[in-house]
């Protein structure tokens, strides 16, 4: 519990997190330690961290020093702020569903301090001007750091390369490129994108699906689609494309990131490529780690997503791959859609699910609370894992003196029922609505400032 609330202090001063379990994948630390923060920077981590403020560790927090805010983290986990390498913030162009302020608020509520905003906005993020707009808007909102993703090709058209060098050199320093939502089908363009990006140390992230095999697809192809009369999305479509991309990236020595892996076969391909030294990273979404295609039976378009939710055996393969590290990161593919678009007939409704505010709880409930992953392993998939995908500055870095105080404080015991209407996103399309989950962020700190305090998201304007 927070024992003092100096209202004027938004983090510039001294902060002491006491009694929590520090889970820091970058340093391998899993221990009960205090964290001292001053002016947005970690100044000490340890049993005697309070000492840097001239206090004794035995102080119970009933401090009479008004310049130190003491936060009691007993029973809670203290971890680096989460990083999402796959977020659709929709701004510019899609503000009816989400904008950078509402999406950042959702991120803060979910324990995130860094979001990578996908490029399929309107206009597309295929110029330094748009990338800087998104990056600067994130800074203004100041609830998370927004790292723009550039498109691989101009206008997501799959033909001409985006000015990768210009985006890399601009203020947003874009080093991650994706036409996410649209597969880059042309093998020659894909090969050249990998070759070109390599020169800038940039990563290519291809939405891995053979578009010929998924034309008109509505859900996972299988026994359920067969009965529901919906065109199937065969798992081979994903695997064929991932195989191609792994072969191309391996040949060039370029950096490839595979987004939203969903099939057991795809996991095998990535595992094999990693063994052979291909420079590949990969992610799985919370929804693909939990949901299965039988949930489509009601034709509620909230369950419609690209790639689709698959079968129980695919879910199990993804979980194993997340545990063994074949999948480096949990990424949300947070994809808000205005209700009027999801209230269409299934085939006319757009694909996409909300994810930021439920991601940790889903993974915690499915894999940590069940004992399949250690807390440290799970936290790694939200921090060091995504930090290995692209450059996100100090996010995910070790919690040591001198580092930015980008932190999340989690209550692993919190049981809560997801209410789509109570989320911070402007949209309501959460597939977890009504589910009971355990584990929830209590506080999120961006450079020492509370973006989430006691479960309440800070006002963007005040923080800014």
């Amino acid at each position: 519990m927070t024992t003092t609330h100096p209202p004027a202090r938004t983090g510039a001063g001294r902060l002491l997190l006491i009694g929590g379990r520090v889970l820091d994948p970058a340093s391998g630390v899993d221990d009960h330690l205090d964290v001292a923060i001053e002016d947005g920077t970690i100044v000490a981590v340890g049993t005697d961290a309070a000492g840097v403020f001239g206090r004794s560790a035995a102080d119970d927090g009933a401090s009479d020093d008004p310049d130190i805010e003491v936060v009691d983290c007993t029973g809670h986990w203290i971890a680096p702020g989460f990083i999402d390498v796959h977020t659709h913030l929709r701004e510019p162009g899609g503000e009816a569903a989400e904008d950078i302020a509402t999406g950042s608020a959702a991120g803060a509520a979910g324990g995130y301090t860094a979001l990578c905003a996908m490029a399929n906005t309107s206009p597309v993020c295929d110029s330094a001007a748009i990338a800087e707009l998104v990056w600067r808007r994130g800074r203004e909102v100041a609830l998370v750091d927004v790292f723009p993703v550039g498109s691989i090709t101009k206008g997501l058209e799959g033909r001409e390369l985006t000015e990768i060098g210009q985006l890399n050199a601009c203020a947003a320093e874009v080093d991650f490129f994706s036409d996410d939502g649209i597969p880059l089908a042309d093998t020659l363009v894909m090969r050249r994108a990998l070759q070109y990006a390599k020169a800038f140390g940039a990563v290519i992230c291809n939405h891995s699906e053979d578009p010929d095999l998924t034309a008109g697809a509505q859900m996972n192809e299988g026994a359920v689609s067969s009965v529901l009369g919906l065109a199937g999305w065969p798992h081979e479509a994903e695997e064929v494309m991932i195989a191609r991309d792994l072969i191309l990236a391996g040949g060039i020595g370029a950096r490839l990131h595979v987004p939203h892996v969903t099939t057991a076969g795809a996991v095998e391909l990535i595992r094999l490529a990693k063994e052979r030294g291909v420079r590949v990273t990969a992610e799985a979404t919370p929804h693909h780690l939990l949901l299965t295609d039988d949930l489509v039976a009601d034709y509620d378009a909230v369950m419609k997503v690209n790639p689709p939710v698959r079968t129980a055996s695919d879910v199990e393969a993804l979980r194993e791959a997340l545990i063994d590290g074949t999948l480096d990161a949990v990424a949300t593919d947070h994809a808000p859609h205005a209700p009027e678009y999801k209230d269409q007939e299934w085939e006319h409704a757009p694909c996409g699910m909300l994810g930021l505010e439920t991601a940790f709880a889903v993974v915690h409930t499915a894999l940590v609370a069940t004992g399949r992953m250690t807390p440290l392993q799970a936290i790694a998939r939200f921090t060091t894992g995504p930090a290995s995908v692209r450059n996100v500055g100090q996010h995910g870095a070790a919690l040591v003196a001198g580092a930015d105080a980008n932190l999340v404080v989690l209550d692993p015991e919190a049981r809560w029922t997801v209410d789509a209407h109570a989320l911070h996103s402007r949209a309501r399309n959460s597939p977890f609505d009504g589910r009971e989950l355990t584990g929830r962020p209590v506080h999120t700190l961006l450079r020492g400032r509370f973006t989430l305090r006691e479960g309440v998201v800070a006002d963007a304007a005040v923080v800014a």
Binding site: Q218, E221, G222, A223, S225, S226, V227, L228, G229, L230, A231, G232, D298, Y299, D300, P339, E340, Y341, D343, Q344, E345, W346, E347, H348
Partner: protein, 361 residues
């Protein structure tokens, strides 16, 4: 040609009018008590039949409900086919035909069925999705709700649209065909037609031929046939078989010629010519050779076997004129029976629940 000529099994016309003329005081089971095909057993089970709230798909029904619908249709068949052909059963009820996909035949059949029961019919046709008009499908549903209709008959190119509608509205929804998913009244009228020709369908062999992948008729048909105990074989180009089709409770037969000698019913599905442009099969000529029903194959059938088609036919592709016009073809009879079956469904959805409530007071 058939075991039962068209009207031989019809109950007396006045018996058939009983449920229709005095709906408020007639027990719900009355319509099932007198059809010639109904046995004492089916009458007894009819008393325990669960009421229908919607007709979204055959998979929502149990065997007793299917038999009850067929028995009711048997009662209503004389009204469906005779000259002076209305009864006041649904007077004052408004049935909305919401047709979001072109379908003149099915719409007319539902239209006739409702009018013969004296319902008012509201035709609401729109092509394409709601969003192209700037509103959501839910908005369209709420508009109908605001108009105060008593039942919505919905045809949509989108699988699942009737189920979504049932979530948005409180009135009974009848599925008149959705995407590739279900076409329950077609399956019911087909089983009704089979029963009139073959009697009890338990153990009978039905061979379904053609494009099952894109067929809402096939999905409903297989489920209805399984419920009445028939054995179903399917024959199709492998590209037009749905994924894991064997889990539907059918036997996949590699060759049509092998399937024909044991068949009691050959059910041909419409094959759209444009499918060959997406490499489902090489040519209509090859399709006709391998999976088309022609005179030579007709002669392999047992004498009592019948040939069926949901229409409209592609003569020369899945069926030749010789077969379509043969004595063993019951394709036009399916159309007539469709009116009676749709009347039965409307009756059970709109009139029978009121009777149940009345009886319960």
């Amino acid at each position: 040609m058939t075991q039962q000529p068209r009207h031989a099994s019809s109950p007396a016309a006045d018996a058939a009018t009983t449920p229709a003329t005095t709906p408020a005081t007639t027990p719900a089971t009355t319509p099932a008590t007198t059809p010639a095909t109904s046995t004492a057993t089916s009458t007894a089970t009819a008393t325990r039949v669960a009421p229908l709230h919607h007709l979204l798909g055959i998979d929502d029904l149990d065997a007793a409900q299917v038999v009850h619908i067929l028995d009711t249709a048997e009662q209503l068949l004389p009204i469906a086919t005779r000259e002076r052909n209305t009864v006041p059963t649904l007077r004052g009820k408004v049935v909305c035909n919401l047709f979001l996909e072109d379908s003149t035949r099915t719409r007319i059949s539902f239209d006739l069925a409702a009018k013969r029961l004296s319902a008012e019919v509201l035709n609401f046709s729109a092509k394409g999705s709601s969003v192209s008009k700037g509103e959501s499908f839910k908005d369209t549903a709420l508009t109908l709700d605001a108009m105060g209709v008593d039942c919505v008959v919905v045809r949509s190119g989108s699988s699942g649209a009737p189920r979504q509608l049932a979530r948005y509205l409180d009135v009974p929804i009848m599925n008149a065909g959705d995407g590739w998913h279900q076409h329950p009244t077609q399956a019911l009228l087909d089983v009704f037609t089979m029963r009139r020709h073959l009697g009890d369908l338990a153990g009978r062999r039905v061979v379904i031929v053609g494009d099952l992948l894109h067929s809402r008729v096939a999905r409903s048909e297989v489920q209805a046939l399984n419920l009445v105990g028939a054995q179903v074989s399917v024959v199709a180009p492998p590209t037009l078989l749905p994924p894991e089709v064997e889990r539907w409770g059918v036997e996949v037969v590699p060759s049509l010629d092998d399937a024909l000698p044991d068949a009691d019913v050959v059910y041909l599905l419409r094959v759209q010519r444009e499918r060959m442009h997406r490499a489902f099969f090489p040519s209509t000529r090859e399709y006709q050779r391998l999976w088309g029903m022609d005179g030579r194959r007709l002669r392999q059938l047992k004498d009592h076997a019948i040939v069926m088609h949901p229409g409209p036919m592609n003569r020369g592709v899945e069926i030749t004129g010789e077969v379509a016009d043969s004595d063993q073809s019951v394709i036009t009879e399916q159309v007539t029976n469709g009116i009676a079956v749709r009347m039965a469904c409307l009756y059970l959805l709109l009139a029978a629940p009121a009777v149940d409530e009345e009886a319960g007071r």
